[in-house]
C-alpha cells in the first residue's frame, strides 16, 4: 500500500502544476477565446521575477506576491497595445502572440544568459506521510494550487467582476447596455490570466530548470488541458488537469517520460475526436 503513496502524490503534484499553468489559459483562451501563444512566456516572466527578487535580497514569499503584480501590469499593457487589436481574429491573434513569444524568449535570454538560473525554494526538507517521506515543497504546491483554483472559481462565479466578464463574453452589446464596459473588463480579464500564469511561474521555478524557454514546455499542455476540459468552463480545467496529469504520471512509471508525454498527447487527440467540446463543456 505504502508504495502507492509517492506515486499518488507525484500525480497530484503534476496535476497541481497543470492546474496552475492552465488557469490563466482557461481565462484568456477558454473564456475570452484569444489564442495566446505567449502564455508560456508569462510563466517564464513569473519565474524570472523570482530570480530578480532573490538577487536583490528578497525571498520566495515576496516573489509570490510580486510576480502576479508584474504579470498583471505586463498583461494590462500588452492588452492595451497589441491584443485588443486582434479580438475575434484567431489567425491574427495566433501570429501576433507567437511573434511576441519569440521576442520575449530572446530578450529574457539576452538579459539573463542561456544558463539555467539558480534559485532558492522554501521548505528544503521532507515531510513524512503514512510513513513515506515526501518533499515538503511539493505538498505545499498541491495545497496552494487547490487554494488558487478555489479562489479563481469563486471570483468567476460570485463576484461582480466575474459576472461582468461572463456577461460581456456572452453578449458584449447587452453587457454594455447594462453599464458594463466590455473593453475594460477584457483588459482586466487578460491581465488576470497573465497574473495567474506569472504566479504559476514562481511556484514552478523550484521544481524545474529556469531558462528563457521553460514556458514552452507548458504551452501545449495547458492548451490541451483547456481543450480537453472544455473551453469556457473553469471547472473543466480541473477535469482536464486530472486526466492529463494523472495519465502522464501513470504512463511515465511504465514507459520513458518523453514517450509518455507523446502518448498522452495522442490520447488527447483521440478524445478530441469523440468529444470536440471537451469532457466538461461550458
Amino acid at each position: 500500500m505504502s508504495a502507492y503513496i509517492p506515486y499518488f502524490l507525484n500525480s497530484l503534484t503534476l496535476i497541481s502544476i497543470l492546474l496552475l499553468v492552465s488557469m490563466g489559459m482557461a481565462i484568456i483562451f477558454g473564456l475570452m477565446n484569444v489564442v495566446n501563444l505567449a502564455h508560456g512566456e508569462f510563466i517564464t516572466i513569473g519565474a524570472f521575477t523570482l530570480v530578480v527578487v532573490e538577487r536583490v535580497g528578497g525571498n520566495f514569499w515576496l516573489a509570490l506576491i510580486v510576480a502576479p503584480v508584474v504579470g498583471y501590469i505586463f498583461g494590462l499593457i500588452l492588452e492595451r497595445v497589441l491584443i485588443r487589436r486582434v479580438y475575434g481574429n484567431a489567425l491574427h491573434a495566433l501570429l501576433m502572440t507567437w511573434g511576441l513569444s519569440l521576442i520575449l524568449q530572446q530578450v529574457i535570454q539576452l538579459i539573463f544568459t542561456a544558463n539555467p538560473q539558480s534559485i532558492k525554494g522554501p521548505f528544503p526538507g521532507a515531510i513524512s506521510i503514512f510513513g513515506e517521506n515526501y518533499p515538503a515543497y511539493r505538498l505545499f504546491l498541491i495545497c496552494f494550487a487547490l487554494a488558487v483554483f478555489v479562489v479563481t472559481v469563486l471570483v468567476f462565479k460570485k463576484t461582480k467582476f466575474g459576472l461582468d466578464l461572463r456577461a460581456s463574453i456572452q453578449s458584449p452589446e447587452m453587457a454594455s447596455v447594462m453599464g458594463v464596459n466590455p473593453a475594460k473588463i477584457n483588459a482586466h480579464a487578460f491581465a488576470s490570466g497573465a497574473a495567474l500564469a506569472a504566479l504559476a511561474g514562481v511556484l514552478l521555478a523550484p521544481l524545474t530548470a529556469v531558462t528563457a524557454y521553460m514556458g514552452l514546455n507548458y504551452l501545449a499542455r495547458s492548451f490541451f488541458v483547456v481543450l480537453i476540459g472544455g473551453a469556457g468552463s473553469i471547472s473543466g480545467v480541473a477535469a482536464g488537469s486530472v486526466l492529463i496529469g494523472g495519465l502522464e504520471t501513470f504512463l511515465s512509471y511504465q514507459i520513458p517520460v518523453t514517450v509518455a508525454q507523446a502518448a498522452v498527447l495522442i490520447l488527447a487527440i483521440v478524445i478530441l475526436r469523440f468529444r470536440p467540446k471537451g469532457i466538461l463543456p461550458a
Binding site: 487589436r85 511573434g99 518523453t258
Partner: protein
C-alpha cells in the same frame, strides 16, 4: 443547382485569369534557376540548393494553409520525419548503398504520411478546425522534437546523426553540388507545376469552397473531411520529401530540423510570398533566406527577434499585403455587411 454551376463557371474563368500570371512567374522562376549554376561557384550553389528544398517545404505548407485556410504549426514535424526517416534508415539498417537513398526516401515519406493520416483523421474528422487545429499541430511538433531529443539510441539525441550518404539512384550519386542542385530543382519544378495544375482545376475550386463555407460545400455532396484529410496528407508527404532530400545534402540530421522554430519560419516564407499563390511560397523562401543571411551575420539572437517582429508587423501594419490576409479581410467585410442587413 444551376445557380451553383454558374457560380462555379464564373469562378473558373476568374481563377483562370488570376492564376495565369502565377503560372508564367513559375515558369520564369524555374528557367532562371536552371541557368543560375552557370554564374555561381560551388559553395553558393549548395546554399541555393538548400533554398530550393526549403522552397519545396514552403510549397507543401502553402498547399494546405493557402488553399484550405487552416494553418498548420506542425509542418516541421513532417519535414523532420522525412529527414530522420532518411537518416535513420541509411545509418542504422545497413542497407545496400546502391538503393539506400530510395529506401530512406520511402521510409521518410511513409512515416510522414502515416502520422499525418492518423493525426488528420482524428482531428479533421473530429471537426477540429481553425485555431484549435493550429494548437494541436503545434503540440505535435513539440512532442516530435521531444522524441527526437529523448530517443537518443535511434535519433542521436541532441547532437543528431552524421554520415548520411549523398542521394543516389541506380548507382548514380548526386554528391557533386551541380548534380544535387539540379536534382532539387527538378523535384521542385515537378511538385510546383503539378500543384499549380491540380489546384487550378476542380480540386482547387472545391478547396476554396470548403475554406469559404464548409457546411455549404458538404451540402453540395462533397466529402469535405476526406478532401481536407487527403490534402493534409499530400502536403505532409511533400514536406517530408523536402526534409529527406535536405539531409542527403547536409550529411547530418539534428533536432532543430523537427522544431517549432522551423515550423514558424516556414509560415513566414509562405506569408511573405503571399499564401495561396504556390509560386509565391518559393519566392518568399528565397527572400527570407537572403534576409536571414544578412541579419544573422549581425547577431545570432537577432534572427528570432526579427521573425517575432515580422509576425507582429504582419498583423498590425500590412495585414492587407500578403494574399491570405486579403481574403480574410474580404470575408470579415462580407460578414459585417451580412450582420448589418
Amino acid at each position: 443547382m444551376t445557380q451553383l454551376s454558374s457560380l462555379l463557371a464564373a469562378n473558373k474563368t476568374a481563377s483562370g485569369l488570376r492564376f495565369r500570371p502565377a503560372t508564367l512567374i513559375a515558369i520564369l522562376l524555374i528557367l532562371i534557376m536552371s541557368v543560375v549554376p552557370l554564374f555561381s561557384n560551388a559553395y553558393d550553389l549548395t546554399n541555393y540548393r538548400d533554398v530550393l528544398l526549403f522552397g519545396l517545404f514552403a510549397l507543401s505548407l502553402d498547399i494546405f494553409w493557402g488553399r484550405t485556410g487552416i494553418l498548420s504549426f506542425g509542418h516541421a514535424t513532417f519535414f523532420g520525419l522525412g529527414a530522420y526517416g532518411m537518416a535513420v534508415s541509411s545509418i542504422h539498417f545497413g542497407i545496400d548503398p546502391s538503393y539506400v537513398s530510395i529506401v530512406g526516401l520511402l521510409v521518410g515519406i511513409g512515416l510522414a504520411a502515416v502520422v499525418a493520416a492518423l493525426v488528420g483523421y482524428f482531428i479533421l474528422y473530429g471537426g477540429v478546425r481553425g485555431d484549435h487545429f493550429t494548437i494541436v499541430t503545434l503540440a505535435l511538433t513539440i512532442v516530435a522534437n521531444h522524441i527526437a531529443i529523448g530517443w537518443s539510441k535511434v535519433t542521436g539525441g541532441d547532437s543528431g546523426l552524421i554520415g548520411i550518404p549523398p542521394f543516389s539512384i541506380f548507382g548514380f550519386s548526386f554528391y557533386d553540388p551541380m548534380a544535387s542542385y539540379y536534382l532539387a530543382l527538378i523535384v521542385l519544378a515537378i511538385c510546383l507545376f503539378s500543384a499549380i495544375w491540380i489546384l487550378n482545376g476542380r480540386l482547387g475550386l472545391i478547396l476554396s469552397a470548403i475554406r469559404d463555407d464548409e457546411v455549404k460545400a458538404k451540402t453540395l455532396g462533397y466529402d469535405t473531411k476526406l478532401i481536407l484529410l487527403i490534402t493534409f496528407v499530400v502536403s505532409a508527404m511533400l514536406a517530408s520529401l523536402a526534409g529527406a532530400l535536405y539531409v542527403t545534402n547536409t550529411g547530418f540530421v539534428a533536432p532543430d530540423m523537427i522544431a517549432l522554430l522551423l515550423s514558424t519560419e516556414v509560415i513566414i516564407w509562405v506569408a511573405v510570398g503571399g499564401s495561396g499563390t504556390l509560386v509565391g511560397a518559393v519566392i518568399g523562401t528565397a527572400i527570407v533566406w537572403w534576409l536571414q543571411q544578412k541579419i544573422s551575420s549581425i547577431s545570432v539572437t537577432a534572427w528570432p527577434i526579427a521573425i517575432g517582429s515580422f509576425f507582429i508587423m504582419l498583423v498590425l501594419f500590412f495585414p492587407r499585403g500578403p494574399g491570405a490576409f486579403v481574403l480574410e479581410k474580404v470575408k470579415a467585410f462580407q460578414k459585417s455587411r451580412e450582420g448589418n442587413k
